[in-house]
């Protein structure tokens, strides 16, 4: 187990290195420069500024310099926010995004699992159709549409929640609701499909024959088996939720990282692009590892590191 985790961590570092390399060279192919007043400067003036930031060096040299900084944990200084270390920007911005993402993931998944269960238990009944319709709507309508509707009804009309801005818990309610639609719908669909299949399988029949109560069958024998595929999709979803959604963050004026990422790409803020990419990638590979470890917990039939006889 420990050996397995260690080996995985090494792979993770290799993956991150490859991602860093690829994104560095891809980023250098972006048109334009990180200068903010590019259109106002003469060619000589541009060169003076680029020289100062080491952007006149050949790209491979810049790459080596960047990696050298990275190894020391130095992500560089943002070009767009003068003198601000990229680490500060990431630390500042990841908080709200992660909080909203986590809230949306937890609430959305719980509701989704419940919806999926109801649908499966009342297979082909009225409740099944209702929950399927909810799930289809949830996956097909983009979340910013929900965000607009929620903002209009619950904030502008009913005034239960603030329209936007970041403050205490009540500010997080509407964005969480908008963000949770997708994980909820996804969870509902997966759980329903899996449960319908699982509930028809032999071991459930056996369990019923043994006289185990319906609640026990559904939760203990059914759900546990139906969760495996769900966990596979929840991992990447968790990352994308917690790294922020640009649109939702704009609508609710949340100081999150999703929007910062898009901005840094638009403005050619190289150090910030690299910092956010690496942060997202690191979260991603970490989550994948966690999921692989979770499989074993949920389904003992999936063994990890079991190849040593």
């Amino acid at each position: 187990m420990v050996r397995y985790v260690l080996r995985r961590v090494v792979y993770m570092l290799i993956t991150l290195f490859i991602i860093a390399t690829l994104s560095f060279f891809l980023m250098k192919m972006l048109p334009g420069s990180p200068l903010n007043a590019e259109d106002k400067l003469s060619e000589e003036q541009k060169q003076i500024v680029l020289e100062k930031y080491g952007l006149n060096d050949p790209v491979p040299v810049q790459y080596v310099n960047y990696l050298a900084g990275l190894v020391k944990g130095d992500l560089g200084i943002s070009f767009a926010f003068s003198n601000t270390p990229v680490t500060d920007i990431l630390m500042d911005r990841i908080g709200p995004s992660a909080q909203l993402g986590a809230q949306a993931l937890v609430v959305g998944t719980i509701l989704g699992v419940l919806l999926g269960l109801i649908a499966a238990v009342f297979h082909n009944g009225f409740l099944d159709y209702t929950s399927t319709i909810i799930a289809v709507i949830g996956t097909s309508i983009p979340n910013f549409v929900f965000a607009g509707i929620l903002q209009y009804f619950f904030a502008s009309e009913l005034q239960w929640f603030p329209v936007a801005l970041w403050g205490d818990f009540k500010h997080t309610v509407l964005p969480t609701m908008a963000l949770m639609i997708f994980p909820m719908a996804t969870a509902a669909r997966f759980v329903r499909t899996e449960m319908v299949e699982v509930m028809g399988s032999n071991y459930i029949k056996t369990a019923r024959a043994k006289g185990i109560g319906e609640v026990g069958i559904v939760f203990k024998h059914g759900l546990r088996n139906a969760l495996i595929p769900l966990i596979t999709v929840i991992g990447p979803m968790a990352v994308s939720l917690m790294t922020g959604s640009m649109v939702i963050e704009q609508i609710f004026a949340i100081p999150g990282i999703g929007e910062q990422f898009v901005n840094s790409v638009i403005m050619n803020d190289y150090p910030t692009i690299m910092g956010t990419t690496l942060l997202f990638a690191a979260l991603f590979v970490a989550i994948i590892l966690i999921i692989d470890l979770l499989y074993g917990l949920i389904d003992p039939r999936i063994r990890i590191g079991g190849n040593n006889s």
Partner: protein, 560 residues
């Protein structure tokens, strides 16, 4: 069996109910809190407070490094240069109480007030200006606006920036603590207005050097000498306050105690926050104007940026033909564009220098009024020129590429212009190319386009800020336009006539006419911003360049 399922449903129901109950509890809290906070915050201790929206974070509060409107806005509110612009955009006393100009117009001697202080109590002296200006052009600073604003203006600025002479050679010296002597490269009639601009603000050398790389990254690493101080700010902050600066030399004039700013980018959210009463001003985007134009707080704030089509004469030889260019510049209906697509108070531009930007020195008449409409939409004439141009070129059809921005409004506008031109000018095919800003600049620099929708906002109060764009081989020409007469007029205005402002303006009027006789560019519109502004907001005026809003003379009126 059936019964068991229903028991299960009941269990789900209970779970859901529990979740809902949690949610419900929050909402009640929210409702009661929501009512309490907004009002109490404003009026609790009789403070005069305003709440504004800012379109984005402030990328830089370092006067040497700032390049964008938000940097200029908050540097303008928290710092003061030699002069400050009043509501008529006239320079009024700032740190300087007056100045003398030598006969040749090259040496400006400013007298500084002795009661101006930094927010740490240090006096503001002439040395602070010398340090700041040297820093702005020092190549080690890496400033963009420093060399842009000072080259060709302050003596040796260009040479210092290129590392040819040490920074001490820059033409700015402190004769004593309160006398600043500035030597110019050539007479600059608008130099007074330049001294109000962020790049020309003073800096406290000791403080800046002490902070090092941390300077201007948060409230704690900034010093102020303006009407307000900036509080609760870090460079990534989404909310901050301007707070009345008690150390400001003219603090008695400042009426507002606190101006809160929050970053909101979504236009619909801005308006909802305005209606909720959380903010006192909100921008109305084009698509929302129809809905709010009858609102009693609706206003249009005119701006001084001008948008136009650049016609590149080097890539497609057809555009080197003046008749083809004339046809294009007259061949699309600007009224419809301004009223239907932009719909935010923007006005049709029929020249280059914007309306209400500069007045003639003698008659005080608006430059735009005097030179009038130099090119208007005229379908018949456009088609006439078009036929003539095609005949001269010996072709009967033409394919041109139109390069434009990729924002929502830009895309609609590009499509409209392309459609108008290809409908109105028979045989013309216009291919659209909508790209992000950075890419457009690259294509512009490489002159890799036929037609391009572009715009320009002024950097100082003088027609030269616009007219200099099309000097032969100028840094922003990038379309192969060249006219010796035009160059000569501007050259003369900036040298021999530099001390005779009235004569300079005659040259500018003439040069603008030449630009449109040549149909070098096709003007489209002058921008404006539609807003909802609460009657609480009083005495805020809009500057034609630099900091958008001036808050020094602002006050809080009654909400009703």
């Amino acid at each position: 069996m059936k019964l068991k399922k229903w028991a299960l449903l009941l269990a789900f129901g209970l779970l859901l109910g529990l979740l809902a109950a949690c949610g419900g509890g929050d909402s009640e809290d929210a409702a009661t809190e929501g009512e309490g906070t907004e009002q109490s915050a404003d009026s609790a201790d009789g403070e005069n407070v305003l709440h504004f929206i800012n379109g984005d974070t402030i990328p830089s509060m370092d006067p040497s490094m700032a390049t964008d409107e938000f940097g200029f806005q908050f540097i303008g509110a928290t710092m003061e240069g030699l002069y400050r612009l009043d509501e008529n955009a006239q320079p009024v006393e700032g740190i300087a109480t007056g100045h003398k100009v030598s006969e040749d117009g090259l040496t400006w001697t400013f007298t500084l007030r002795e009661d101006a202080q930094w927010s740490n109590g240090d006096p503001v002296t002439a040395h602070d200006f010398v340090y700041a200006w040297q820093r702005a052009v020092d190549p080690n600073t890496g400033s963009e606006y420093g060399p842009y604003m000072m080259s060709g203006v302050i003596k040796n600025a260009e040479a210092v920036n290129e590392g040819e002479v040490p920074v001490e050679e820059l033409g700015v010296t402190a004769e004593d603590d309160y006398t600043l002597v500035v030597e110019l490269e050539q007479p600059v009639p608008y130099f007074e207005s330049l001294t109000t601009f962020s790049t020309f603000m003073p800096l406290n050398e000791k403080f800046v050097e002490e902070q090092g790389d941390k300077f201007a990254t948060s409230t704690d690493t900034l010093l102020f000498n303006g009407p307000y101080t900036l509080e609760n700010w870090t460079s990534t902050a989404q909310e901050w306050d301007l707070v009345k600066n008690e150390n400001y030399w003219d603090a008695d004039t400042v009426q507002v105690d606190r101006i809160n700013h929050v970053v909101v980018k979504d236009p619909a959210t801005s308006v909802r926050l305005y209606e909720e009463g959380s903010v006192d001003r909100a921008t109305i985007s084009s698509d929302l104007v129809d809905q709010y134009s009858t609102h009693e707080d609706y206003q249009v704030v005119p701006e001084t940026a001008v948008f136009y089509i650049k016609m590149n004469q080097t890539r497609n030889e057809a555009l080197a033909n003046v008749n083809i260019r004339k046809a294009i510049s007259m061949g699309f209906n600007k009224d419809a564009l301004v009223n239907e697509i932009l719909n935010n108070g923007s006005i049709v531009a029929n020249g280059l220098i914007p309306k209400d930007f500069v007045n003639l020195p003698d008659s005080e008449e608006d430059f735009r009024e005097v030179n009038g409409d130099l090119v208007t939409f005229d379908l018949e004439k456009a088609q006439e020129y078009w036929e003539k141009g095609l005949a001269e070129l010996g072709i009967d059809s033409l394919e041109l590429e139109l390069l434009g921005g990729d924002s929502e409004t830009s895309k609609v506008m590009n499509e409209y212009v392309a459609n108008q031109l290809s409908t109105n000018l028979p045989g013309l095919t216009v291919n659209l190319k909508n790209v992000p800003f950075e890419q457009r600049l690259d294509l512009d620099t490489n002159m890799d386009y036929d037609l391009q929708i572009s715009g320009w906002g002024p950097d100082y109060l003088d027609p030269f800020t616009f007219l200099s764009l099309w000097i032969t081989d100028g840094g922003n020409n990038k379309m192969g336009y060249s006219n010796e007469e035009y160059d000569a007029l501007l050259q003369e205005a900036q040298s021999e006539l530099a001390t005779d402002n009235a004569a300079r303006y005659e040259n500018f009027l003439e040069a603008e006419k030449i630009l449109f006789e040549d149909a070098a560019i096709a003007p489209i519109y002058q921008s404006a911003e539609a807003q909802l502004v609460s009657p609480k907001v009083q005495g805020v005026h809009v500057n034609p360049f630099g900091a958008t809003y001036e808050y020094k003379w602002a006050s809080v009126g009654s909400a009703e």
